[in-house]
Symmetry: C2
């Protein structure tokens, strides 16, 4: 049976970065750039003012103070997006707004607050006074942003592989890009298997359970920036399962839940083995031992044959979510072109003793909290692999190694953080 | 001028939690539950097997071992979703699959691996053998999940106010809920103002800049789970601005960038003051001093008058993003019904000295990294308020307090984490 690391390695080796696509910039949030972005423009385009005030020759303001103002003749007003045709000559100033180009002759900007202009401001909008009193001496280059100080033309502002956060989207927009070439978001087909399952919203026959796995798994797919394709419940017969698998064949990944144990009707693994290519089945992990990984035959949008990675997750409600975090998330992130596919972990002091004698690594659902500068982890209730309540109460999975028989209260353990502050959007 | 805390308090006091709506469960990710969810069902519904194997009377297996197996007569097979009509009597066993109800008479389940069934498994699917050899003694209740052990009927499984992560979505699905009552996602109108702005994808006239703020701000809105309504560029004249404001009147919040400084054409703050209700203008923060907050008059979907919170963000590319993180994000989270509206901070050792003598709190763009168990922060390049490249290189904002003249290299500072691992979807 494979260890967690061995299983993960086999999965990561078998999946590849998806093709690139050209997408409107507002749809790229969280995707990975598939091109270097070289600036075709200069930002800012010209030397310009970082303040509302007066463009002056700094020499003219020497010795200016509250009680000994310097008086300058105002010869023009220039606004952002405009250009003054006049030159600041000795004894003159041009009224200038933030972002407006510095007029020839000026080497400094004095903000309104250091002139007598502000006092008259409310009297009338857009009135250029004939003269202005300056109350402070300006140093050369003061309040001037140089052309190209943020982005020089020809500079590579973003490299292939960058994850597009709001700042990267803003940066690409600042050079005028309306579309970006990004790695596609994986489309992930989700199928639940089992005769015991009932669809949400329908009456529940005796002894049956609702299909929750479709929704927890599809929500995880969405949460990590991929696109779930919900295919519903496949019953425990070959015909139904094959029908659903056919609907999954244009997806980039297939996730099934259930059908991977030792039972007679656990056909998922048998069908991967028969019609596809089974890479492994079973991992030394708890919960989640019955995890099948292989490839099934599919077709791309153009009908070209290709093989689709298929993870057969266990059917238990908590197991399938833990398996997703450990094995599916890294695979999807790799397919999205991301380099860092590991979830953050913290060192935490465990507040419960946990035995581990069966040779499998345990990932217990837990609540991790910071107190007095240390992280503490407590197990979030009963850990039965079917129990989803303890998953909902958890914000982390604490790792109980397969060696040493377990951990004792007070030991330091590694906690894989599912969520910080119980938030999806940090 | 208000401090950061005072400004934030005024904003939070002025916004309210939005109304609830009933939404298909798959669309609720990241939203806040607006109802208590009480289970109408029992999960699991009946005592059932957690393994594929044989339901037995544990007393019948006493003394069983590899060399001294106990032989039992197999009288039936029961699968998940099925119910056996037979009773396990002394000397008999019922073949049982994971999730199938425990038949009357049985008090224990022996997994296939501890019987001679597994060896014959591949020979034919779904074949019930006439007898089975048991190789281990079973203890009572072994491999049995009790009815209701995860969810008892009548139990409150999720409380009003819970943030819906994949686990909560799975939990609600497990009791059959196809829709959930959640607090609405805020719709946020986004307007950029300025004659100097050019739309993405169009040629750039001399001296003009592209409108990047629309996209960085809309991406932030989306990133935190809200819905951006992009209204484009308003030119620096009252008519154009009023026209755009009218298009924003059915939004839950209005964000403008630019038009809030001291300049002649900074009409945004003047129009809030005249047509709405200006709460404050200017905050002791750098970047981002010119921040206007007020309410404008709008109408809800039914045409009923209401006032809409309006944040007039500074026009500089980095300033408006920093102002969003400090002031808009907490307001949106409150409107979404979230309780924890603060972004996580870490204590970090700063690797640059930063002066602060102008009485404003500085939020410098920085890279925070963990090395040898400590967080270190270094400033990510020039901090000009128009510079978005340093925002793209940052994963945090380090806080330089307004007291004490600044911080020295080696001092411990607080860093507000924008992103962990430069990732949007952690």
């Amino acid at each position: 049976m494979l260890t967690v690391e061995q299983a993960l390695q086999k999965i990561l080796e078998a999946v590849s970065v998806l093709d690139a696509e050209n997408v409107p910039i507002m749809e790229t949030l969280g995707q990975v750039l598939a091109e270097d972005i070289v600036s075709t423009v200069t930002v800012p385009p010209l030397d310009n003012s970082s303040m509302d005030g007066y463009a002056v020759r700094s020499a003219d303001t020497r010795g200016a103070a509250e009680k000994t103002p310097k008086t300058l003749k105002v010869i023009d007003t220039v606004i952002a997006g405009g250009i003054s045709k006049k030159e600041v000559t000795p004894g003159t100033a041009i009224r200038i707004m933030t972002g407006a180009p510095i007029p020839p002759g000026a080497d400094s900007v004095i903000q309104f607050e250091n002139t007598d202009d502000a006092k008259n401001k409310d009297a009338s909008l857009n009135q250029t006074p004939t003269q202005v009193n300056i109350f402070v001496a300006a140093s050369p280059a003061q309040n001037i942003r140089r052309a190209g100080e943020d982005i020089a033309q020809g500079k590579t502002i973003l490299k292939k592989g960058a994850v597009l956060r709001p700042a990267e989207i803003g940066l690409a927009a600042s050079i005028g890009r309306s579309h970006l070439k990004v790695v596609q978001r994986p489309v992930v087909a989700v199928i639940s298997t089992g005769d015991e399952l009932t669809e949400l919203g329908k009456p529940l026959p005796a002894g049956r359970i609702y299909d929750s796995n479709t929704y927890s798994i599809a929500a995880l797919v969405k949460r990590y920036g991929c696109v779930p394709k919900i295919l519903g419940i496949a019953r425990d017969n070959e015909k139904d399962l094959l029908k659903k698998l056919k609907q999954a064949q244009d997806a980039d990944m297939l996730l099934t839940t259930g059908g991977v144990s030792m039972g007679d009707y656990d056909m998922v693994k048998d069908i991967i083995a028969r019609d596809g290519n089974m890479v492994f089945w079973k991992v030394k992990v708890k919960p989640g031992k019955p995890l099948a990984f292989g490839k099934i035959n599919g077709r791309d949008k153009n009908g070209k044959p290709r093989s689709i990675p298929h993870l057969g997750l266990p059917g238990n409600a908590a197991s399938c979510m833990v398996s997703f975090e450990l094995f599916v998330r890294p695979a999807l992130l790799k397919m999205m072109g991301k380099i860092n596919v590991t979830k953050p972990t913290v060192s935490a002091i465990i507040e419960d003793s946990v035995k581990n004698n069966d040779g499998r690594r345990i990932y217990n659902r837990a609540v991790v909290e910071k107190r007095d500068g240390h992280y503490y982890a407590r197990v979030s209730g009963p850990q039965g692999s079917g129990m989803i309540t303890s998953m909902s109460q958890a914000n982390a999975l604490v790792i109980i190694p397969e060696e040493n028989g377990g951990v004792k209260k007070g030991d330091t353990v590694q906690a894989l953080m599912l969520d910080w502050n119980q938030e999806v959007n940090l």
